[in-house]
Amino acid sequence: MSSCENPNVDKDALMPRRQKFDGKTKICVRCKENTGNVVIRYSVYCKTCFFPLVQTRFRKSLEPSINATPDGPRKKALKAVGSLVIGLSGGTCSTAMLDLVAKSYFAPKNEPTGKLKGGKDHPRNSDKGVWKGKAGISYVEVCGAFPGEKDRTEDIRAVVESYSNSNFEFLPLRLEDSFDSNWWKSVGGDLSTSAQSLARLDLHLVNSSSESSPLQALRTYLSSLPTQTAFYSAVQMLVRLLLLHTSASRDASHLLLGTSLTSLSVNLISGIAQGSGYQVTEEGKEEWNPRPEHGMPLRIVRPLRDVGMKECTIWDWWCKLKIVGEPRSLYSGGKNAIGALTRDFIFGLESDYPATVSTVARTCAKLTPKEGSDEICALCERPAQHGVQAWKSRISIRSYQEVSSAVSGNTRPPHLTEEEITNLTKSSLDITPTSDHPFSLTPLLCYACHTLLTSRSSRGLAASLPQGQSTGDVPLPLWVRSSADMAISAHSHESVPLAVKMSRREMEKEISEFLLSDE
């Protein structure tokens, strides 16, 4: 269609271009005394006023969700029902977040930088902490996915120890823990013996006989993914699920992630571009329920969601914090992955249209999923919509079997005979599902995760790992095996027989004793 179809007639729909900072006002807008040191969203602040500015935004995003009844009156003391876990990646924003948490809620009584402690009547000073027990600071080492990348665990440990706070506990994790049954047991997960070896062959659940180390399993899993986009998203998803299950095992009520306003906007657009619009609210604010009796409902809070990346950098710089840094390959790698493309796009727009970043976050905060759902995706453990497979096959026909109702008689493809189309619409029934592996992973997945595992690139695979044996079965993260196991056993308790076509070999097995040999 022509480019003027959707005119931006509303004044507020026009994106304002960057207004150059005029340079006239040099006095801090807050104290109106000091000469400004930084410009934040068109306003000048001095160094003294910068810290409370950021800390106020941090608290506004975090504190309304601390008490069990969310958004309650803030006069009440802050009291969480469980413990706290902080996700630390070593990047700019999570480093600033750890510092803000330490200074706001875990500051030793006689800390010299009194300015950051909050008021005298601040609940922190009422002796007991906001959260129960020690705060876990959790780091997920991702070098297993990127051969040649440095292991940063000890650097991060040093960052945590630099706070010499007896209430902080370092919790190092590794990406390959997702495939390690020792880790899964340590977080209270259980698996039946058969589920231990559950893997996938395409999208069928199979029992794998091949034993492999967690690291090998991780690499096989990642190299089985069809696109760079899927590879990078899968790594981020593993990090997220490792943090969730670890938090639940510590009876945590809150998991804090260092997502800045800038990265929130990137995540929102990137998620929408990968088909996870149904979960758009989860990117900003989310509550996750562990398996029954394995922890309490966990709130995932991003207390820097209203603070830009630039402010985080300034915070780190002025507080002289050591930035270990995130592995370069995780973010600047995968140039052709949707995540990196979105990042480049949003960063690029930010310089010309600085309002974009906050507009994206503000717009998405006004959205809600269209219909309720009680389904949870086995892979990402976020809410999943019903009917996505029907939607997919209606909109992109990948076999005549999928559209068998529309292709008969006069409405069949004109170049095919009645007999040919009949064979085509029938034959694929034999393939899905097979008698050996009657269970499919598909119904357990949300739209985005199904797309992640199946949607191909026209360029072919370009992940950083050598392609694994694509014909073999692919290990699954342990939480997926546990969910699949539950689904299978729920299914087998039902007396409804599965409509599975019997193979000739199977028929033979059943009737073998009745068959007489030719001899």
């Binding site: 269609m1 022509s2 480019s3 003027c4 179809e5 959707n6 005119p7 931006n8 007639v9 509303d10 004044k11 729909a13 994106m15 696109t227 760079q228 986009t229 929102l268 657009i269 998620g271 929408i272 571009a273 990968q274 088909g275 996870s276 619009g277 149904y278 758009v280 052709n336 992955a337 949707i338 493309l341 979105t342 690029g348 727009l349 974009t356 507009t359 503000r362 717009t363 006004k366 959205l367 809600t368 999923p369 269209k370 996505v388 209606r394 909109i395 992109s396 026909i397 990948r398 076999s399 559209v403 529309a406 493809p413 004109p414 170049h415 085509l424 949607s455 191909r456 690139s457 026209s458």
Partner: protein, 355 residues
Amino acid sequence: MAPRSCALCLKAKSMLKRPKTGQQICRDCFFYVFETEVHNTIIHSKLFNPGDRVAIGASGGKDSTVLAYVMKTLNERYQYGLELFLLSIDEGITGYRDDSLETVKRNQEQYDMPLKILSYGELYGWTMDAIVSQVGRKNNCTFCGVFRRQALDRGAAMLNVDHIVTGHNADDIAETVLMNIMRGDIARLGRCTSICTQGEDTIRRSKPFKYAYEKEIVMYAYFKKLDYFSTECIYSPDAYRGHARAFLKDLEAARPSAIIDIIHSGEAFEIKEEIKATQKVQQTCQRCGYMSSNPLCKACTLLEGLERGMANSGITDRGRRKLDAEGPTPDNLRTIPFFRRPSGGYPAIAVELPS
């Protein structure tokens, strides 16, 4: 590489790689799945009733040319029982519309469909050329977009049709989803993925190509040898939209399903109830009877600005207040004819029949 056989019929030699799925298929299967997906869209959304009079918004560009062909094909194959019309808007841009209107006239004969061409000059008394000479090239897309939307509805009312179908494709819709999020246009975001829109006073409007990839529309036209013209407006497009379009192309290159995935996302969410409540209610324009969120619709406001020689004042609210401050609307002002919805029966005007 040796030619493979078609992934769908397993019989013919594969001739193309389908942009939407990456499958290698033959030409006949491509036609068939492309058409069947449009059919699925139509049937699943219950777009039409037998006997409906449906106008195809025809610009002579690729989308509407292929749409007219596919609508005719499906109407016959599945016996929808529709009466199809072609409806074209002539914006009055010298050297831009002439060729594409020729295409539409040829389609009228090939497809045996009645055609109505409605011009901005006829409806508003202003051609786009005349508007651009007044407002310059900065805001002309605002005029063009507002005027076209109304013009299609008015043309449809003249043809007395129940329904307008437009050639908006999946790329357009995905791009609009992204644009509306980035611009914070929450009202449009809420409705841009719905396949069919109908206000109380407007004619049903739908997009049967909602899930059709632009590349496949071009491919379809190419293999069916349908000719069309580029309808990219020669007056400047919107730079911000240009960024969004380039981004979408990158996403599609990274993972072709991205276009459909964005639409799926857009369909999965809606505006929170408490936000909906704060949005403006629809009313009808007191001057021309067209739907509007203000007492005066956008087209009437823009037209009044043009007529009073203060063309740019119709674009913003501030401009509008300035216009009001200049004094009341003169009585002898040229206005748009009053809008009436078709109420069944015969066409309000005679249409040109194919010769």
